[in-house]
């Protein structure tokens, strides 16, 4: 196909990423506090979206549990407070959510996709109830104050988490795991018969996707000051991740990122003055996208969609 010298197309993508990386790392030098905080939020939404896409896009199992893992991250950060340095707090949150997701996966991913959807949907509410009960009966206090960190530290942590996530996502796509995931998404039965341990792959990747969400939650909590189960476990996070991914389009690497940036920006515009309108608009956008542009925005740009969002599957 291509010979010798690099073509412009091949150069373009690494160059673009290089520029973005430099801009992101030096951001705090030239941007205002407001901008840094805004961009931190935008990056957060990119993390939520890309994490969701990591598992749900190739396999077709729609996870509605993003908010649950995010909340786990937030609460880990709140509970551990300053007992541990922040990096360890984040690590703990990551491990906790990995474990939780692995259990959920082991329980549901060997069955039809419906069960996975049901279970992950209710997970957010479940953990909320567990914490509420715990707080009422054991500690006697509702909610917690969170040790705070400055916006620059949080920005860099979020940036780091995102960088690792994007790298992981990229490597998985190009690796055996990615091949296994796509095969599972195409035909679980055939994938199993080709030697792929379907349940294990699904569970592991699902658990991996939860890690980034929880880590981000642990970091973001430091900006919030006070959290309680209602604040930490909000379905909006699950919904946002899904809506952004679908809107942006999941077939290309850049799709979810585009969707997340667009929505996060829109959110910033509307959230303070029109919170209900913002969520209403998101809901409308999701429905309209499904109805008229199921491949997402990125399809318009590339016109060469490769994979589609598959549905809940029969077991292998």
């Amino acid at each position: 196909m291509r010979t010798g010298s690099l073509s412009w197309n091949q150069l373009r993508t690494p160059a673009v990423w290089g520029v973005l990386l430099v801009a992101a790392v030096t951001l705090t030098l030239y941007a205002s506090t407001y901008s840094v905080i805004l961009i931190t939020n935008i990056l957060l939404y990119v993390i939520l979206t890309v994490s969701w896409v990591l598992f749900s896009a190739p396999t077709g199992y729609i996870s509605l549990a993003t908010a649950a893992f995010f909340g786990v991250g937030i609460y880990t950060s709140a509970i551990l407070g300053d007992q541990l340095p922040l990096p360890l707090v984040i690590l703990t949150a990551a491990v906790a959510s990995f474990g939780l997701a692995a259990i959920v996966g082991a329980l549901t991913l060997r069955l039809k996709g419906v069960y996975f959807c049901f279970f992950t949907f209710g997970l957010v509410e479940l953990i909320k109830h567990v914490l509420l009960w715990y707080e009422v009966s054991v500690t006697g206090l509702r909610g917690r104050f969170v040790v705070s960190a400055d916006h620059i530290t949080v920005y860099y942590i979020i940036l780091a988490i995102l960088a690792v996530l994007l790298l992981t996502s990229y490597l998985i796509r190009r690796s055996r795991v990615g091949l296994a995931l796509r095969s599972i998404g195409e035909s679980e039965e055939a994938a199993a018969h080709a030697g792929i341990n379907v349940s294990a792959v699904k569970t592991m990747v699902f658990a991996l996707s939860a890690v980034f969400v929880a880590a981000a939650g642990a970091a973001m909590a430091r900006r919030w000051g006070y959290v309680d189960p209602y604040i930490a476990f909000d379905y909006l996070y699950s919904f946002t991740a899904v809506a952004m991914a679908v809107f942006g389009g999941v077939s290309r690497f850049a799709g979810p990122i585009v969707g997340a940036v667009a929505f996060a920006y829109l959110r910033e515009l509307l959230i303070t003055r029109f919170p209900y309108i913002y969520m209403l608009v998101m809901g409308l956008v999701l429905v309209v996208t499904i109805l008229f542009l199921p491949q997402g925005l990125i399809e318009l740009a590339t016109k060469a969609p490769w994979r589609r969002l598959r549905g809940p599957r029969e077991p292998a």
């Binding site: 091949l179 296994a180 095969s183 195409e186 039965e189 199993a192 018969h193 030697g195 341990n197």
Partner: protein, 239 residues
């Protein structure tokens, strides 16, 4: 040497017995045919052998090892591969990636990506799909999709290959080519157990034929014996 030993295998769904106390045996190097009217339980039997279904009773021994109740990916890695009646290729992926999946995951001996790639090229060439290596599987003709499935299964380096209705939907030329392919597979050292409705094909390529009817083994023998067996003829003509 006995490769596959099935004893008393049964499977029912609710009240219906799909497969009922079937005993059979496949020896290394054979091509064994499995025939029977529609609904006789042939694909169900294959599903039991490949691990897609769990039997209610009976046992399956492969290469001396009890594989009853193992999961499909485990059975595949032990050297038992299959193709499907309704073709299950990975549609959006190019043909080469379809085969690559089998080469990487189905073969228990350590493969580097480079070796797997070579295996893919080999199998694509074997089934005659080298030119279509980059074509998305769903854009292939039915005959080619079946070959692709075959290549994917062969890439897992099976000792025994279950072929489920390879010839369905193929025109006479394609049937002849498919028959040749099966013969080649056997020549290269893979034992074949094949479900087929196309009588001409079965009679020509099989050493031995097993007849299933209503989930039970009705008859077993050489093509000659089966063709002249009164019970078999009745079953087929009576249906």
């Amino acid at each position: 040497m006995s490769l596959l030993n099935v004893e008393g295998i049964s499977k029912h769904f609710g009240g219906l017995a799909a497969v009922s106390r079937v005993d059979l045996q496949v020896s290394e190097g054979e091509v064994v045919g499995l025939i029977g009217p529609n609904g006789a339980g042939k694909t169900t039997l294959f599903n039991l052998l490949s691990g897609a279904l769990k039997p209610n009773a009976g046992s399956i021994r492969f290469r001396g090892e009890d594989i009853t109740g193992l999961k499909p990916h485990q059975i595949c890695r032990k050297g038992l591969a299959r193709t499907f009646q309704s073709v299950k290729v990975f549609g959006a992926m190019p043909a080469s990636q379809n085969v690559l999946a089998g080469a990487i995951f189905g073969n228990p001996s350590q493969t580097s990506l480079k070796q797997a790639g070579e295996e893919v090229a080999r199998q694509l060439e074997f089934v005659g799909l080298t030119a279509q290596a980059d074509v998305p599987a769903r854009d292939l003709t039915l005959a080619n999709q079946k070959r692709l499935e075959m290549a994917r299964a062969l890439a897992t380096k099976p000792a025994l290959l279950l072929v489920d209705e390879l010839m369905a939907g193929l025109n006479p030329t394609e049937v002849a080519q498919a028959m040749e392919l099966v013969a080649e597979v056997r020549k290269r050292g893979t034992t074949v157990f094949i479900i087929e409705h196309v009588m001409k094909a079965i009679m020509n390529i099989c050493d031995r034929i097993i007849v299933l009817h209503h989930g039970e083994k009705l008859a077993e023998g050489t093509p000659q014996e089966i063709a002249t067996s009164r019970t078999v003829v009745e079953v087929y003509l009576g249906e």
